[in-house]
Symmetry: C2
Subunit: 346 residues, 2 copies
Amino acid sequence: MLKTIEYVDGVVRMIDQTKLPLESVFVDCRTIEEVGSAIKTMVIRGAPAIGVAAAMGVSLGAAAIEAETFDDFFSQLEAQCAELGQSRPTAVNLAWGIERMTRVAQENKSLPLAELKTLLRDESIKICAEDIEINKAMGRHGQALIEKGQTVLTHCNAGALATAGYGTALGVIRAAMEAGKNIKVMANETRPFLQGARLTVWELKEDNIPVTLITDNMSGFFMKKKAIDCVVVGADRIAANGDVANKIGTYMVATMAEKHKIPFYVAAPISTLDMSLSSGDLIPIEERSSEEVTSVQNQRIAPEGTNAAHPAFDVTPNDMITAIITEKGVARPPFAESLKRLAEQK
Amino acid sequence: MLKTIEYVDGVVRMIDQTKLPLESVFVDCRTIEEVGSAIKTMVIRGAPAIGVAAAMGVSLGAAAIEAETFDDFFSQLEAQCAELGQSRPTAVNLAWGIERMTRVAQENKSLPLAELKTLLRDESIKICAEDIEINKAMGRHGQALIEKGQTVLTHCNAGALATAGYGTALGVIRAAMEAGKNIKVMANETRPFLQGARLTVWELKEDNIPVTLITDNMSGFFMKKKAIDCVVVGADRIAANGDVANKIGTYMVATMAEKHKIPFYVAAPISTLDMSLSSGDLIPIEERSSEEVTSVQNQRIAPEGTNAAHPAFDVTPNDMITAIITEKGVARPPFAESLKRLAEQK
């Protein structure tokens, strides 16, 4: 499996997810600005992967700062972080990655700056490694919810490519396969960016997990035919009450699951929780370019001058969610209590 | 506005709907087989347009038959019709168009064959003209259901291009505009064939009706935001109990409308009713090529060898439908009674 992101000789290397699966091209980021741009253009995407990229971006930023004192260093770092933090608004992991790095800087302000820069680089590499461990723990907890031979629907790509590796929703699916459950996957193609068709199908094929691609408007048909047993998706931000922001279309999948009484699971690390927001109504929803809707892989599909809307995420209310799978365990309703308990657990 | 289909000098001319809106190319059919192939490959699509094409196809078939007696003529015609009837399974208008033509042939069996062939040609041209009148009547009845300034969501293309002209669902929208209601339209792109992005947007822009294109997974987001006031779609076949087969994804739109208590209207001519089927479960659902899912406009979007499913239609149960708009009036639940009444009405 190709690595989503890694630190190589002072360079942050990412597989270009806008080009997969037709081309496997790597993008090397040498500055924090280049990392911000890679996040914005979706060279790298997926909430946990954005968190890792942000941390590595901060370490690149730190390395390039010329300063004599910690205060000077830190104020320059904060300015860079503020800009990086604007690259995408919905995934809270971006802010989480930045915050963890700046906290480590502050906690080690007495170190010589050269040493602090090394420490920050190592911290970002540690965040990357931790992410894989977190996903494996999530997989262990989540796979218990899936039964032998079931067909699991997923939306977007919450896989190895959306994380440092293994994946959140696809981590649960991988763990179920590793537990010998012989499950099958249905993957929504996930317009406009086609993360399902391009990334999820590619990942699962690489791992020999049986997958059938469908368009986003077909899941209702297959649920009505009882061909889908449960849904597992990732998350970009989870409010304190359990409302989940995730890729546009997730809310419709949840509504179909509710109508057909099919369990709807969300798999996300604790870093995706935003306990500062009481409800999903407060989560900022990114509006992306309408050209991503009027074209597919740079080929226009609609008349010239077409007006299109492109909200990149939606919010699924907590009362439509069966359980939220985290690395610390599985939260069940009422989520306001269960998520708080997990978040505070050491 | 370009004509969807017309009879020109012994040729059935269609605008190639696989190429719109990037190219305006016409396809000339000279035989019944060429018409069948145009239907199968979706050069022409949309239930009422398929009905018109079928009738014109039968007249081309009739013109080419060499026979001395009516019985010989008619058995050859029936063989041709049987094959044409296989071109697409879901839209009942195909069978309806063929049946009307063979009935006219039988009712005029005493005519000299040359005259009968002319009569059949004229009948198919009449069916085409009638379709436009039917759509205008449907528009008059349907527009009364839409209020000033509302935003109407539609799925697929149930427009001029899906009919001989004016459209069914888009006919209702056109009539509402003509009544000065200043409505707005949201159009689902309608993967995999993109009838919404390519055809509905194009038609509405030509008529200066404000339209915003969205991907199929966005309508839930906009309904939750109260940005959609009602839904109007077409139909490919309606069972006696009011269950509606329509383009894949319609069932999900209906489910979202149900969740948000938004009226869900179906606009279709009486010829779309199949009173021989007691419920939508009996409607045959066409399974099309998976390549239409793994590619967009002949450009591959998924890994090579991807397994994909492609049911081309789904069935929306009658209890999710607010009203069915026909040229004879608006049917309300219980549809088993109201549709029967309309079907029997002269």
